[in-house]
């Protein structure tokens, strides 16, 4: 049983995009100006009695840290600031402002964190303003990834709000000269029921910062008593979305702002041999920038920037070693990387697989492959950069505002205290917006133009110059005994990753290894990371084993699962689906899969229809998903996340794949990279949410995506008799 910190560190191993060296380091002379920033310093007063410093329960280096002052300071220590005022402020008007380093990318963190504060502070959600991802205002946070907002940030906000509630109660008790235990907190007021005396929060704080500290054991409300959390609070800024009022980064306009474009190499690894920019530079309002290998233009409109870009005459030197062909991909991924026998992280060695296989009555080996897929967020990477004196402000849609701040500091050789990153609620990320290329590029262009610059990546750039979910090859060998119980499990994952690599099945002899591969494409985090690949390989192999010994796939799994939470979702999905009640009719096939990731548990049952003659896939008739992640924070938003993940997962399951050749992406457009659309919806989708108020709330942004692909593959096998071992299950004919 791994500790949360161990699990978190394991997650980190796969975030290749974070381990890369900087993409740009610009030759800007270091300014010798160190201006102390006013306005952010907090007068630190510990109110009398000793209060324990906030201890962040999990992964202390990774979460919610920051110096004593708001904004995290110049990168010092990353411990969570202990004083309430760094996280929450109550204005004289009673408006509550909360500060979090998490960002909103469609997962409804803005709403769920509002609920967390509203619950503990006993205020209406409408009186809360949530400031997210503004590096000048919020405590340091490592990033919005790993499904960490619900299990780590929400409890933090709750402790903060509970501490504020206690502090306010103390202040009211002083004011009324009464025992604080005779007071109740409700609706933004402290009341003394016996006398009817009442005082609003705003009157108590007078708008001053709350300097009391947050204790790790602040009295937070147990789930059984929740009145705000656990209910469906509608998305707090929904009205701005449906009216088009909300400004995404790509919508922002700054005074005198110009638009940028970046010149991309004609292939990966190509180097700029020569550049003739005379024509472009002669265009009205155009500035051309060349800094090392970075070439870009700015102009008064996007069209003018495009025209300027097209007018650049660049010659490229191809890389010394040709970029690998997609045909070599899986061979490359299995080629050992020097100095790496096994991956280390995620490896399991239990018992003796050799002995287990010798004792097995049935053995099965198979190889599974998983293609690269793209995040394809509907809002592409975008940034607006503005230099003033020596302060750089960048608005950008990123999951890591403080990470981007560091990237900017490194790229320009300036201190983080001179950089301000803001993240408007963003048009999705899915793990694909951890890196700040666009922010750095926009800042470089703005520096050259001497004006604010907006840079919005084209769809082609978003498909080509970001990073992908890793491709992978997975070899599995399993053995069962005569009683249908697994006796051996050997599992090798090449390149794809370690997320959920360990089976939750009850297997006495296991050897599980991750092997680093030579990925020809830039790769990194994705929704669920390698859990999508690992569940595909594992759950299809389980299905193959079940069929080979003539046991029902559901029964086979239940026979081999001890984990109660996994059993529960599997049983719930199967029951809602009617798995054991009836049988599929001709031309239909049923498949199921179950899994776990980041503290959540999921199971899916799928019915597909095939053409009765050709037995080719025709349609998805039914999908039933069961999901459990502890105590539910917002039932409707949870269902939204689960359904959304399943629908998105249809793409990776059925048709999404990145094709490449000669150092270029072959399908960098929506016209050539197929994503799920309305008509790909299953005829019927049903979701069962299990609410475990007795368990801490885990995140749900990722886990629900892992079961759909193997369940679909297994259903296809049942319907057609053809076993498919590759994702996507139904690739384009003739594609690379």
């Amino acid at each position: 049983m791994r500790t949360p910190v161990e699990e978190f560190l394991e997650i980190e191993a796969e975030r290749y995009e974070l381990a890369e060296g900087p993409m740009y380091r610009f030759g800007i002379a270091r300014r010798d100006l160190f201006r102390a920033l006013g306005g952010g310093l907090l007068v630190f007063l510990v109110a009398g009695e000793a209060q324990s410093l906030l201890a962040v329960p999990e992964a202390p280096q990774q979460e919610s840290g920051g110096g004593a002052r708001r904004g995290g300071g110049g990168g010092g220590n990353n411990q969570a600031p202990p004083e309430i005022g760094a996280w929450l402020h109550i204005g004289e008007d009673g408006i509550v402002t909360a500060y979090t380093g998490k960002v909103e990318v469609g997962q409804n963190a803005r709403t769920s964190l509002t609920q967390a504060v509203a619950e503990e502070l006993r205020v209406a959600p409408a009186s809360i303003r949530m400031v997210m991802g503004d590096t000048d205002l919020v405590p340091y946070d490592a990033g919005t990834f790993g499904s960490r907002t619900t299990p780590a940030m929400a409890p933090q906000m709750r402790r903060v709000a509970a501490a504020a509630r206690e502090r306010l109660t103390e202040l009211a008790a002083e004011r009324f000269a009464m025992d604080k235990n005779s007071l109740i907190v409700q609706n933004g007021k402290i009341q003394h029921p016996a006398t009817g005396r009442s005082v609003g929060f705003g009157e108590l704080t007078q708008g001053k910062k709350l300097t009391a500290t947050v204790s790790a054991d602040a009295a937070i409300t147990p789930p059984a008593e929740w009145t705000v959390i656990g209910k469906t609070l509608p998305k707090v800024n929904g009205a701005d979305i449906v009216t088009g009022r909300h400004k995404y980064t790509s919508d922002l306009k700054r005074p005198d702002m110009f638009y940028g474009r970046v010149l991309r190499p004609n292939a990966y690894g190509a180097k700029l041999a020569s550049l003739n920019s005379a024509k472009a530079a002669a265009m009205p309002g155009v500035t051309v920038v060349r800094d090392g290998d970075f070439v870009g233009v700015t102009a008064p409109t996007t069209s003018a920037a495009e025209a300027a870009l097209e007018a650049l005459e660049a010659k490229w030197t191809p890389p010394a070693t040709p970029h690998p062909s997609a045909k070599e991909l899986y061979t490359l991924l299995k080629t050992p990387v020097e100095g790496q026998a096994g991956g280390g992280r995620g490896d399991v060695n239990v018992g003796s697989v050799e002995e287990g296989l010798n004792a097995a009555t049935k053995k099965l080996s198979a190889t599974y492959t998983v293609a690269y897929i793209a995040h394809a967020p509907l809002e592409p990477r975008a940034a607006v950069a503005e230099w003033q004196e020596d302060k750089l402000t960048v608005w950008t849609g990123t999951q890591r505002p403080f990470g981007v701040r560091s990237e900017l500091a490194g790229a320009f050789g300036i201190g983080e205290d001179r950089i301000h990153v803001l993240v408007p609620d963003t048009g999705s990320g899915y793990g694909g917006k951890h890196t700040g290329e666009c922010a750095v590029e926009a800042a470089r262009l703005a520096k050259a133009a001497g004006k604010p610059v907006k840079l919005v990546w084209t769809r082609e750039e978003e498909f080509s110059w970001a990073y992908f979910r890793p491709a992978g090859v997975i070899d599995v060998t399993a053995g069962v005994g005569a009683d249908g119980k697994l006796v051996a499990w050997e599992y090798h994952n090449y390149n794809s990753g370690t997320a959920s690599i360990r089976p939750l099945y009850d297997i006495p002899n296991q050897k599980v290894m991750f092997h680093n591969g030579r990925s020809p494409l830039r790769q990194g985090s994705y929704r669920g990371l390698a859990a999508t690949a690992n569940h595909f390989a594992r759950e299809v192999h389980m299905d193959e084993m079940a069929h080979s010994i003539g046991v029902d796939p559901l029964a086979f799994r239940l026979q081999n699962i001890k984990d109660e939470r996994l059993r529960n979702v599997l049983v719930a999905a199967a029951e809602a689906f009617g798995w054991s009640k009836t049988k599929p009719v001709t031309g239909r096939g049923w498949g199921l899969a179950c899994g776990f990731d980041k503290g959540g548990y999921v199971a899916a049952c799928v019915e597909v229809a095939v053409n009765p003659k050709t037995r080719q896939f025709q349609s998805i008739e039914r999908v039933v998903t069961a999901f459990e992640c502890g105590a539910i924070v917002n039932p409707d938003h949870l269902k939204n996340q689960v359904d959304g993940a399943v629908v998105q997962g249809l793409g990776g399951a059925l048709f999404e794949a990145v094709y490449f050749a000669e150092g270029r992406i072959g399908n960098p457009y929506f016209s050539s990279y197929r994503v799920p659309r309305f008509r790909d919806l299953p005829r019927e989708m049903k979701t069962v949410l299990l609410d475990r108020k007795d368990l801490p709330s885990a995140g749900a942004g990722e886990c629900p995506i892992v079961a759909i692909a193997p369940a679909l593959g297994n259903a296809l096998f049942a319907a057609s008799g053809t076993r498919l071992r590759s994702l996507p299950l139904l690739p384009k004919k003739g594609a690379a």
Binding site: G106, G244, K247, E379, P380, Y669, F670, P676, M685
Partner: protein, 157 residues
Amino acid sequence: MTPKNFPLVVNGEKRPVTAAEDETLLRVLRENLDLTGTKYGCGEGQCGACTVLVDGKPVRSCITPAATAVGKPVTTIEGLANGDKLHPLQEAFLAEGAMQCGYCIPGMIVSAAGLLKRNPNPSEAQILQAMQGNICRCGSYPRILAAIQRAIKGKTS
């Protein structure tokens, strides 16, 4: 490229702009008129985030020359509400929670508005067909479908 005047009428108001003669309607709306509700998603008319109504019909403004919109009423997401009163589709999307990151939503609502103008009572299959050109990468299709159906039921005209 010589700049050209486009005497556009957007959301019931005269909004003349000057832009390159081959400028797209999307860029004119977003950059000249600061009507940023209509979004850029792909630039090739494949994702529907840029959908506006021209003469009541949905068009992908990213591949529509501004010139072709002259002389016709243009409606963007900003023009659907009546002051504070939201359009039935907007209310339905809110009621169904039919959004996650929200980026596709203006295009979805405008496409749906266009559909309901030409077919006030479409079947589910007709809705799916009409909306097939709008991508929701977050996977909110089931809710968006429910929102459109809700708006249809709730319409009084």
